[in-house]
């Protein structure tokens, strides 16, 4: 799916882990994605859907021995064909990542300043003094008060929200083109969450970086994303612009996710739950992977549906799309 000016273009990505017991788990199975500069793509899915594995594959951070095929095009190169050294040069420079747990993602042995400076010194030929100045500038950019004082503090002296800001400062220190945020707000309480999302939105405007936001929280998606890819059992089941997805979900799984989302703006009885659980990915299921939990299943679902285009450029992996027909 070639899009004009895509910064990152993933084609048919497959990731398989070979367990020590000889079992193979297909964590990601044929994913196509692309992001353009200045846009935010949300990847939504429950635990084990392959969303984090996809992002780690892009960063080249999957453990050795993992089988990865397909193509990850980044700035015209295929990252899967690049050497480990080349990937190290890209990480933290052209592409960066923010992790879920700000409480444990900073090294307790070094000051905040040391850790941000390290990323700068790694990728820019500058001296300690310049790195320090740049690090303080980054701390200011992520709205950490009194950046000069914070520079020499240790992680345990900062709150969770402040640490996540420091992590963002570290990730953005070398002006990456691509920022992957893996559940950046999950570990934070709601007010801090809103501040961090606001910060990310503002930084995207300033830097024009492409952002991939991985989350299981549709509320976060609605807040910051332009586009959404919904993942289920290692596959993308639906891709759409964010308003379209919330207005008319075109995959039964998305419908289920939206039903399970608590809302304040509408009367709602009990939250809907999606019954059943995610299929075991070490035994690759045949047919549509959602069918055992799907209220709309038909005989044809024994056969794997492809990602089918439905109205205005949206894609869904469901034989029964568009779903409006079913409820009308």
């Amino acid at each position: 799916m070639a899009e004009d000016g895509a910064l990152l273009e993933i084609t048919d990505l497959q990731v398989a882990f070979h367990g020590p017991d000889g079992r193979t788990t297909h964590a990601v199975d044929g994913v196509d994605l692309s992001v353009t500069p200045g846009r935010t793509l949300g990847i939504v899915g429950e635990s084990g859907s392959g969303k984090s594995v996809t992002s780690l594959a892009v960063m080249g951070l999957l453990p050795k021995g993992t089988e990865i095929t397909g193509r990850i095009g980044f700035e015209g190169r295929d990252l899967l064909k690049e050497s480990a050294r080349r990937l190290r040069d890209l990480r933290g420079d052209r592409m960066a990542m923010i992790f879920q747990e700000p409480m444990t993602s900073l090294n307790p042995a070094y000051t905040i300043g040391d850790q941000i400076s390290e990323a700068i010194l790694r990728h820019r030929s500058v001296g300690r003094r310049e790195a320090r100045a740049r690090a303080i500038e980054m701390l200011r950019k992520v709205r950490i008060p009194e950046p000069e004082a914070r520079f020499q503090e240790y992680p345990h002296q900062l709150s969770g929200g402040m640490r996540q800001r420091a992590m963002i400062a570290m990730a953005l220190a070398c002006d990456p083109q691509l920022l992957i945020a893996d559940e950046p707000t999950t570990a934070l309480d709601v007010t801090i969450q809103a501040q961090i999302l606001e910060l990310m939105r503002r930084l995207r405007e300033e830097t024009r970086a492409a952002i991939i936001l991985i989350t299981h929280d549709l509320g976060v998606v609605a807040e910051v994303c332009d586009e959404v890819a919904v993942m289920y059992a290692g596959q993308i089941v639906e891709r759409a612009a964010v308003q379209d997805l919330f207005a008319f979900p075109q995959h039964p799984y998305t419908v289920g996710l939206l039903g399970a989302l608590p809302r304040f703006d509408a009367e709602q009885g009990e939250l809907a739950v999606i019954s059943g659980s995610v299929p075991d990915m070490s035994r690759r299921p045949t047919g549509c992977r959602f069918r055992s939990r799907c209220p709309f299943r038909i005989e044809r679902c024994e056969e794997m549906p492809p990602l089918i285009p439905v109205e205005n450029g949206r894609l869904t992996r469901c034989w029964r799309a568009p779903l409006q027909r079913l409820v009308a």
Binding site: M59, L61, R88, D89, L90, R91, G92, D93, A96, M97, F99, Q100, E101, T104, S105, L106, N107, P108, A109, Y110, E118, A119, R122, H123, R143, I144, P145, E146, A149, R150, Q152, E153, Y154, H156, Q157, L158, S159, G161, M162, M167, M170, A171, T191, I192, A194, Q195, E198, L199, R202
Partner: protein, 298 residues
């Protein structure tokens, strides 16, 4: 979201005092709060000073024999009495501290220099490197520490240097295993993944991001192993495998004292007390350090 545009409302950072509370300072503060550990630290300092300043503090030459002052009881002239050839026991205990502490320190340096990098390698690289190193440490740890040290010292030949090497080699597997275990824990930490995500090469992650975080338990082990090494040196010297006569060592002093236990007990009591105090102090200090370094403690 007005909060993000008003820095004053988001200053939720942990502390507002700008005293930098570095991990090192925090440990020192916690250690100071433990009287037993503090006393032990003082005793260790006194023993180290005694060993360093032995030539200035000792009233007599520790090897000077005197046939007119054989096995004299403690007196103002000879504080700890004299031994079977008239040597001053106080001076010999002071000089003996040199052999004991040298054995403690040198053997631990050997054990750390070999054990920590090998443990780091095993834990970080994993695979067959880990398997090979782990089997080797298992094999060495199957033999009791002292027995292994005695066997190695006997093999290398009886003198203090060889005794230190033997003790050092015997203590190495303890450090390999401890380091490896700690590295395995720290390797899975999020900040190690974060360090990879900013493009650090493997060696830098191992040395800069993992090593500093495995040091605290290693420091505790160092203190405890010094105590074990002091005992090992005394044992080897007692058996004649360590410090050679006429130079004093607490172990060899005990050896010669055993024949006179009933009529000259001071010959055994003072070197015995010295060993006891040194080992106790290092152990108490080690325990105190462990508590002070415990991240769960307040």
């Amino acid at each position: 979201m007005s909060a993000a545009t008003e820095p004053a409302t988001v200053s939720g950072a942990g502390s507002h005092d700008h005293l930098v509370d570095s991990p090192r300072r925090r440990v020192w503060r916690r250690l100071k709060a433990r009287p037993a550990a503090l006393v032990a630290l003082c005793v260790v300092v006194v023993i180290v000073l005694a060993a360093l300043l032995a030539p200035l503090l000792a009233p007599y030459d520790p090897t000077q024999q005197s046939w007119t002052a054989v096995r004299q009881a403690p007196s103002w002239q000879h504080w700890f009495g004299t031994d079977e050839v008239g040597r001053d026991v106080f001076s010999r205990v002071l000089y003996g501290a040199r052999a004991s502490l040298a054995a403690g320190v040198v053997s631990i340096v050997i054990a750390v220099i070999f054990g920590v990098p090998l443990g780091l390698l095993a834990g970080y690289v994993g695979g067959w490197v880990d398997a090979a190193l782990s089997r080797l440490t298992d094999a060495m740890l199957a033999i009791p520490f002292l027995i292994l040290a005695i066997a190695l010292a006997a093999f290398l030949g009886p003198n203090l240097t060889n005794a230190m090497i033997a003790i050092g080699i015997s203590a190495t597997p303890i450090f390999i295993r401890l380091t490896r275990g700690q590295v395995l824990t720290v390797k899975a930490e999020d900040y190690v993944e974060a360090a990879r995500a900013v493009g650090n090469p493997g060696w830098r992650i191992a040395l800069r991001h993992i090593l500093p975080n495995v040091l605290p338990p290693l420091l505790v082990q160092v203190t405890l192993t010094i105590a074990a090494a002091v005992i090992a040196e005394a044992s080897l010297s007692f058996l004649g495998l360590g410090q050679q006569p006429p130079m004093p060592s607490w172990g060899s002093m005990l050896n010669s004292a055993q024949r006179f236990l009933s009529n000259a007990p001071w010959m055994a009591i003072y070197p015995g007390m010295a060993i006891f105090l040194t080992v106790l102090s290092f152990n108490v200090l080690g325990d105190g350090l462990r508590d002070a370094l415990d991240p769960r403690a307040k």
